[in-house]
Each structure stands twice: as structure tokens, then as C-alpha cells.
């Protein structure tokens, strides 16, 4: 075992030798090493977060035909550091009547819920925090803490806009959790495990080939979970100014902002882990864990960019459209897809991996085609109903 084949365990074993050499008990040394590892991982996440601020601002500028930050350092790379200094020296205003404890805990919870996801993010075969056997449920659970932080912020701010923003967010997040969980069931079913490392290892053929519709549902519901445009109703500035974080200033707002960006990047990572092979890239991952980690980070950055692309291209949807899209389209489609995947996967259990993948892909194409046909028929019927004058009798029959 050298540093290049297994860096984490190499360093951990070396530290273990050092600590036990000092006469420390082995259990205590293990906890201490875990703490050092967690600090390293969280620090890496926060440094990446600073970079993401710059990436976000540069990319949005390009989408909007602007230059973006370009004054502070080469290409404006030091702009986020200037932002941090500004946020730190801003006055921290707590509104009268705010529930102080909850008001101050909310930004901490917001960032913590995102950092928790990094505990199970598999960067490379042997570079990860911990391999939980219930990894996917853990993702959902950590996301629920994020929802909790938003309702805490909205409730404790003593502000009407904040409260309304929080309610909208919670309605959106709990709604879109259903298709997301069902989309998470598809990789579980195909891989036969809930651990993210196991899911990556079983992707000899990327799951996006086996279930392209599942990947699409997951990406859409992930964007909604992130609260990014077109699902950014929680901070719709034209309606409720800034939503749940309206009363937050300085570093407290900064934590919400940092949490949002890091959340988007982390979900980019999970999209790549669940459907796009994680650190696997046509055998390139065999060159060692460092190369695999770089592949993983590049993939995560790519999907982060896709999320940004959607954000800056699609306008915001209305709240009734948002809920109808989830409950009347995404959720039924996700359940139908799960059933079809289960059935086809079972029927083709004896076939080779190639035929298995081809069958599942074909099933997805058929489901997608049927969905489009049903939507077309529905739209045609609606158009006809709008063209004919409204009849009271028909209205009464519906109720």
C-alpha cells in the first residue's frame, strides 16, 4: 500500500502509528484521526464553495452576455474573497420580535445539511468519508434538515414575506421529494444496494443508459429540491422580495448563499454517482484514486454547470403549475417507470448484461413515447374545451 494506490488509509495508518507511539489508546486515536479527516473534507468543501461563487458569477455573466467579475485578480478570481470580507464586516441586524435562538441556528443548519452529504460522497474507490449501507436514505434525511432550516428561518424572522417564502419552500420540497425518492429507487433496484459506493461499482453500464427517464426525473426533482430557477418560488424577488432569508444580513446570509451553491454542486455529484458512473470513465479510473477523484469532480462540475444552465435559461413557474407538474405528471410517471423497470428487469434476469440494458432502454423509450402521446391528447382536449363556449351543465357534472 503506497500513497498513490490508497491515500486515505496510508495517511490514516501513518497517523495511527504516530498517535499510538505517543502512548494514546487506539480507540481515541481512531476518533482523532476521523476528526482530522472530517476537518480536511469540510475545509476542502468550503474552499470549493469559494471557487463556486466565482464560477457561478462568471457563468451567469456569460449567459447574460456580460463579462462578470474581472477587476480583483486575474479573471476576477479573488472576487469571492472580497465578498467574504464584505460579508464579515457587515452589520448583523436582528429584527425586533425575532426568535433569537432559532433565528441564529437556521443558517448553521442550512450549511450543515449540505456538509453532511459530503460524508458519503464517493470521490474514488478508496477516497470517501464513510460507506453507509443506507446511503440513499441518508441523502434524503440530510435534505430534510435543509428543509427544516428554511422553515426555521421563515418562522423565526417575524416577517410576513419570510413566512410565506418558507411555506412555499416546504410545499415545494416535500412535493418533489416523492419523485426524487422514486428515482432513487431505480438505481437501488438495478444495483441491489443502497450504498453509494456499491452503486458506482455496479455501473459497468451507466444507469443513464438503463434508465434515461429515471435520470431525467432525478435531475428535475433535484433542481426543485435545490430551490433553483425555474423552481425558485421560495425567493421570488418580484413577489416576496427574498423569501425566507429576507431578514438575514452579513455572514448569516452568506451561510445561506454558500449552502445553496454547495448544495447544487453536491447534487451535481450525486447525479453523476447515481446515473453517470461516478468516478468511472471508460477505464480511466484504473490509473489510481487521484485520477478517479479528478474525474468525479469534473463530472460533478459538469452537472453543476447543467443546473446553472437550466437556472439562467428557464423562467420561474407559478406555484399551482409547480405543484401540478409534480403531483399530476412527475410522480405518476416516476411510479410507472419504477414498475416497468422492475418488471422488465425481472423478466430479463437470465439474459446477458447487454440484452438486459437494451431491454430496459427500450422500455424507457416506450414509456417516454406513451407519456408524450398522453400529454399531446390532453393538450388537444384542453384546447377544444377552451375553444367551445363554457357550458354550465359540464361544469356541474365535474363536481
Amino acid at each position: 500500500m503506497t500513497f498513490w494506490t490508497d491515500p486515505i488509509n496510508f495517511v490514516a495508518d501513518w497517523l495511527m502509528g504516530v498517535f499510538t507511539g505517543w502512548g494514546m489508546a487506539e480507540g481515541l486515536a481512531g476518533v482523532l484521526i476521523a476528526l482530522i479527516g472530517i476537518f480536511a473534507l469540510v475545509t476542502f468543501a468550503m474552499l470549493l464553495d469559494i471557487l463556486l461563487v466565482w464560477v457561478e458569477r462568471k457563468v451567469v455573466a456569460r449567459f447574460q452576455d456580460r463579462l462578470g467579475p474581472n477587476r480583483v485578480g486575474p479573471f476576477g478570481i479573488f472576487q469571492p474573497f472580497a465578498d467574504i470580507v464584505k460579508l464579515l464586516i457587515k452589520e448583523d441586524i436582528t429584527p425586533i420580535g425575532a426568535d433569537k435562538i432559532i433565528y441564529n441556528l437556521a443558517p448553521i443548519f442550512s450549511l450543515m445539511s449540505v456538509l453532511l452529504l459530503w460524508a458519503i460522497l464517493p470521490f474514488a474507490p478508496k477516497i470517501f468519508g464513510v460507506d453507509l449501507n443506507v446511503g440513499l436514505l441518508y441523502i434524503v434525511a440530510a435534505g430534510a434538515i435543509g428543509t427544516l432550516s428554511i422553515i426555521m428561518a421563515g418562522w423565526a424572522s417575524n416577517n410576513k414575506y419570510a413566512l410565506m417564502g418558507a411555506f412555499r419552500t416546504v410545499a415545494q420540497m416535500i412535493s418533489y421529494e416523492i419523485p426524487m425518492v422514486v428515482a432513487l429507487l431505480i438505481p437501488t433496484l438495478l444495483a441491489g444496494t443502497m450504498g453509494v459506493n456499491g452503486i458506482v461499482e455496479s455501473q459497468g453500464i451507466w444507469f443513464v443508459v438503463l434508465s434515461p427517464l429515471g435520470a431525467l426525473i432525478f435531475v428535475i426533482s433535484a433542481i426543485a429540491e435545490l430551490g433553483r430557477s425555474p423552481f425558485d418560488l421560495n425567493e421570488a424577488e418580484s413577489e416576496i422580495v427574498a423569501g425566507f432569508h429576507i431578514e438575514y444580513t452579513g455572514m448569516k446570509f452568506g451561510l445561506f448563499y454558500a449552502g445553496e451553491l454547495l448544495h447544487a454542486f453536491t447534487f451535481g455529484g450525486f447525479i453523476s454517482v447515481l446515473f453517470f458512473g461516478g468516478y468511472r470513465f471508460f477505464g480511466l479510473e484504473n490509473f489510481g484514486p487521484i485520477v478517479a477523484a479528478v474525474i468525479f469532480l469534473l463530472k460533478a462540475l459538469f452537472f453543476y454547470w447543467v443546473i446553472m444552465w437550466v437556472k439562467y435559461t428557464v423562467p420561474r413557474v407559478r406555484i399551482d403549475h409547480m405543484l401540478a407538474f409534480n403531483w399530476k405528471f412527475l410522480t405518476p410517471l416516476a411510479f410507472v417507470l419504477l414498475m416497468v423497470t422492475a418488471l422488465v428487469s425481472k423478466l430479463l434476469a437470465g439474459a446477458s448484461a447487454g440484452w438486459h440494458a437494451a431491454g430496459l432502454f427500450l422500455a424507457n423509450v416506450v414509456v417516454g413515447w406513451l407519456t408524450i402521446e398522453i400529454l399531446k391528447a390532453h393538450a388537444r382536449r384542453q384546447r377544444e374545451r377552451e375553444e367551445t363556449p363554457a357550458q354550465p351543465a359540464v361544469q356541474a357534472a365535474q363536481h
Binding site: L87, L115, A119, V130, L163, M164, L189, M251, T331
Partner: protein, 118 residues
């Protein structure tokens, strides 16, 4: 680490400490000159009328109830999905039947108009 949940527990501690540290640093160096105008509730320059904890739509409750049904059901579906490779065809069909029963619940809520935003 023998028990991964010890690691998660430590992660929660560190994950709370890092943001708390950022807030602490901000508290040390940020100026603090509160006055009643500055601390008043922000409402685009208009003074707040009445209580800030306003009434909200009952519709949110209905969506939360529908959500609860499906959220509990996933707890049953995850073990089914994990053991899927070892299951016979009959057990797979049973899982599908379970999902169908759930979908009938969704259809019922839909027909009753619970999914309409009024």
C-alpha cells in the same frame, strides 16, 4: 472506524462548528449599532400592520398529508428494491401491486380535488 454512525455523529459536530465559527468571527469584527428603525420588520418601507405570523392556506396541509402517505411508503419500497435480485418473479409482482395500490390513493386524491391549488 468500526461503526460508521460514530463518524456521522462527528461529522454533524464539525458541520455545525464550522458555520458557527464563521458567525462568531463576524460577531467579533462586525459593527453593532442597533436602533429601532433599523431593527424593524422589513416590508418594502411600509410599516407592518398586525401580526407577522399571518394565516396561511389550508392547502399546504393537504399537500403535506398526501406527501406523508408516499413518504412512509418509500420505507417499505427500499428493502424490496435492495433485495430485488434475489426475489422470485412473484415477489416482484407483489411489489408492483403495492405500488398500484398507492397510485390508486393518488388517483383518489386527484379525483377529490386535493391536488388543485385554489
Amino acid at each position: 472506524m468500526q461503526n460508521p454512525w460514530i463518524y456521522i455523529g462527528l461529522f454533524i459536530l464539525v458541520g455545525m462548528m464550522i458555520p458557527a465559527m464563521a458567525l462568531m468571527i463576524a460577531r467579533l469584527i462586525a459593527p453593532r449599532k442597533p436602533n429601532p428603525i433599523k431593527q424593524s420588520t422589513y416590508e418594502c418601507g411600509i410599516e407592518t400592520v398586525g401580526d407577522s405570523w399571518v394565516q396561511f392556506k389550508a392547502q399546504y396541509y393537504i399537500f403535506a398529508l398526501v406527501f406523508l402517505v408516499f413518504d412512509v411508503e418509500t420505507v417499505f419500497l427500499f428493502p424490496w428494491a435492495v433485495a430485488f435480485d434475489k426475489l422470485p418473479l412473484f415477489a416482484a409482482l407483489e411489489g408492483i401491486l403495492f405500488i398500484l395500490i398507492l397510485i390508486s390513493g393518488l388517483v383518489y386524491a386527484w379525483r377529490k380535488g386535493a391536488l388543485e391549488w385554489m
